[in-house]
Symmetry: D2
Subunit: 229 residues, 4 copies
């Protein structure tokens, strides 16, 4: 994973499915290619992975993976199968999909063996530090009370970000740290990077935007600009 990072969690908004999802993914792909020096990651629902994988060159992540190998697991999504579907990585432990500690450890290790990247969410600086010991490629700190509010953590609780960076760096010097929750504008992205993280995990600001391309472009440009400082 390169930095800076603009990771777009499609969640299960109406725009996360079908032609709208495909269009947003293609837009992200286009902006990423134009700017060149940013990692834009799209994270669509399971049903949309194959279509989007065929249409874009930027990294596509799954929103979740289950700690299973192939087998008799009706309705679950084995991490092994996701690798073969073609994703570059998986989002894990999102606040809307928390998993057990032993599952985080198992999935991050399994992902590494499979050559998949991992982006693991944490709700507090302390949880982020715990996650960091497990050596995912990246982690995102997201205070759940701000998710989807439009109130950016980088504005409302900057100390959550700086404390996360501090605690994480005590135990892991390499993991990429992202800021999530309430990221709504290019300014929020710049602030997240100024506070010491390498980018953002964003959802509603793009998925609910009237003009997703405008938001993606502004956020990506802000990230590129901020990381240079």
């Amino acid at each position: 994973m390169r930095v800076p990072v603009l990771a777009i969690n499609f969640k299960t908004y109406p725009s996360a499915f079908g032609d709208k999802a495909l269009a947003i993914a293609k837009t992200a792909d286009k902006v990423a290619k134009e700017l060149g020096n940013i990692e834009i990651i799209v994270i669509p629902p399971f049903t949309e992975l194959r279509r989007i994988l065929e249409a874009v060159e930027i990294p596509v992540f799954a929103q979740h993976a289950d700690p299973y190998d192939y087998g008799a697991h009706t309705g679950w999504m084995p991490i092994t199968a996701l690798k073969d579907v073609g994703v570059k990585g998986v989002l894990l432990n999102h606040s809307e999909h928390r998993i057990r500690l032993d599952e985080i450890v198992h999935l991050v290790q399994k992902a590494r063996e499979l050559g998949l990247e991992t982006l693991v969410c944490a709700d507090t600086p302390q949880a982020a530090a715990a996650v960091a010991t497990v050596n995912p490629v990246a982690l995102a700190v997201e205070p759940p009370e701000l998710i989807g509010t439009g109130v950016a953590v980088s504005k409302a609780k900057p100390e959550v970000i700086t404390r996360t960076v501090e605690l994480v760096r005590k135990v892991n010097s390499e993991v990429i740290i992202l800021t999530g929750a309430g990221i709504s504008s290019a300014e929020d992205v710049a602030k997240a990077i100024e506070l010491g993280t390498a980018g953002v995990l964003v959802a509603s600001a793009i998925m609910k935007a009237k003009d997703p391309e405008k938001v993606i472009r502004e956020m990506a440009e802000a990230a590129v600009k901020a990381i240079k400082k």
Copy 2:
């Protein structure tokens, strides 16, 4: 849903993904068209739904649905979204993916509103009767201890099937009743129908077969023949 029914649960076997999954779905489609008087349903993982939906005309079901509408539900699969993806129905409460009673009630009602069919699993005749009060389109009784064993419930525990039919019919005269767990041969399918059910829910016997077409064809023909009696 027409009868007899041959419902194929792809689970997450290696053959449930990619070209193998597509080939099995197409084979099922071909056999269904040739025989004409049987409902063959394919039930692939979420990631394979769109590709298979584009390639076949027989009913495609999802293996599970989450009791959500569109929204902020990272990594989950809202039943509303599945409708828009294009499935004809959903499998619910499989023994590998049990859900709460209130979720069964909610999902079956929501599916009905959306025009989706439901096939709800139950592990015992008593659970099947409880499910029947909720009015799904179909239910399948599957003693978990026989699933994946190759020992058919219709042979090993025929009384589970007859008792299920008896208890279910006391509370619901219309729901389609299927037999699951260990169904391995055409003979097992015939037996399931002779015992009073309208078909089978099968997985490993087809998904792990060297020649899935042969198994699908034999089972389908046995079902058609048995239902006529």
Copy 3:
């Protein structure tokens, strides 16, 4: 279980523990003995069961049971152990502690074998009918949106109760039907019985009362009076 029923769910309010819990249980015991013709059931947390069992003669139920036998189940509460602790029954599937359908079936059957009574909650008339097929001793219908509100279901949504009675009686002529959610006054209790149920499941109105004895007595008297009609 005799009728009418006044089942008091202690939940985990501050008054559900220690001397306050003991006092409320003793009060319920006293009122039950004075009135004679009512079944008052107390349902305290696990930690309080033994103390209360030693102090009262009325039925004591557990708030939940796990579908295990004795064994290696750290931190869970096997239904078998609860029997030996001495409870007369268990509350199952409360809206704050929903369980899977297969667990409801298993626990109700296991309870019957052990000689324990069961009181199973349901959130809708449809779920109540499903529960009724499993033959618990009693069930309570509780629309979750009214729980703890002080707005009684018997006032705000009487049709939920009458519909529950209607659907349940189609499949089970014997199960005792209780009304829950928002029951706050003697009047609510009377209404619940007039609508065709055999009593109430109540929590905050008693556990948060300044004078629990007054509330218990008024509700019990209203139940006795209403049931005679």
Copy 4:
């Protein structure tokens, strides 16, 4: 928590309830007082806590706690209530009762605020390191495949213990590290301490023993002897 530690998880074995449980707790109390220089902790089921708390002076822990405050949480066990019941600490994240990472973080912090000690289990050295960043008072590494087998981790997989000590000490110099899983004899206890941990978490070897006092005494003496080296 003093060292060395002999923590006895009663689980839900038949001997974990009633008079047998009380007798084992009293025996542990007696041995602890006789030896003086060892921390013997008893960890009984919720229903037995009050009786045992009244009968012994050694630390009594709960087997689990739910991340709730007092309130409407039917059938759950708020950590706040456990404090008031009188336990000295709580066992968390046992392999039979795994919890989410965010719950571990929340419960350990809440316990600290309440003045409760925490003993958090982990299944691997990596998970143990993650747990260590959260600063519980103690942690126990227990490979689940050895739990209840009578094959001690200290014999069968000593590298799990040494690796745990190594990874944990990189991030936390103070947390007490215990060895669990398959501890069956005084020799296993000695080995666990020689490998660098401060004691053991043991269950079946004591709870299923014909003579629990003999096992407790031998293990405690072995721990005291080994820690002096």
